[in-house]
Symmetry: none
Subunit: 157 residues, 2 copies
Amino acid sequence: MEAFHRIWKKWRNLLVYGFILGMLIISLRLLRWKYMIADQSLEIFIGIVALFFMGLGVWIAMQLVKTKSKDSANTESVPDQELLSIDEIALKKLQLTKREKEVLGLIVKGYSNLEIAEALHLSVSTIKTHVSNLYSKLDVKRRGQAIDKARKLRIVK
Amino acid sequence: MEAFHRIWKKWRNLLVYGFILGMLIISLRLLRWKYMIADQSLEIFIGIVALFFMGLGVWIAMQLVKTKSKDSANTESVPDQELLSIDEIALKKLQLTKREKEVLGLIVKGYSNLEIAEALHLSVSTIKTHVSNLYSKLDVKRRGQAIDKARKLRIVK
DNA sequence: CCGGATTTGGTACTTTAGTATGAACCACAT
DNA sequence: ATGTGGTTCATACTAAAGTACCAAATCCGG
């Protein structure tokens, strides 16, 4: 039963495409007898058909190529309902101030200093000061190291 | 002249496809006037046109995503005994090259470009190139964003 | 009220990161 | 044979990050 299910899953889309194709052909035939009287519009009709089916071909190919996963591929935000509890002890040991924690939180989200400044309604100079002090306390020298360390210490979400 | 050459290289394929398309349309029109006398064969003709252009669409789409088949060939079966399993599907969609994946792995560890260069026995220039291409594929502009996105997509450990 | 810590912001400077462009090479497929 | 993608590296430039040092305002406990 499982084998059947797998096979079905594999070829289901193809069958659906075939069905859609058949429906389209039938409807096109009907359309033709309904509206195709003038000879000069026949060219246009054929052109439309050609373009439409080319687009359909592109779409089908895309469907076939893309590994069908609507789950997490292009979704921008992955829900982090994970039980990633913050290590409060490690956080306290660092003696970070309120602002420094805020800044760190934005740094790990990939914010630039300018973006942090705008988010907190501060100047870039101030952010740089906080960032610099933050690095001293975290014992790192660069942004990337700070992010890595913050995650490893589990002091950020 | 150099600028023209660059642009030409970039858009050549698109122009070629457009040209072929135009040629096909013209030839189809000629064919129609040559052989399309009987009314009942018009249906068949339209069907052929539709199928042909659908195939053309498939072909074009395949050309556009051609490189995927090479990469995805050997990464089909991946054992995920990892605790923190990485999203192979999302990873495949990004079409990152081998080097780009390596560089990304070191970036999320907080390595500087110089450190990455030393770790991989390459020059900083090369690392910068890889990093730049990586950012394009990840659709980000900075290191921190790349780290954040890589973690959210779960394409790194 | 005083004093230390925090917060804010500035100037000046160095370092790192990032972009744009070009070139050369190789592997591989058409 | 030719073309394409990937890799490597270079130069030249701009942007962002980071350091060092300073100084003022604010907050808060003793």
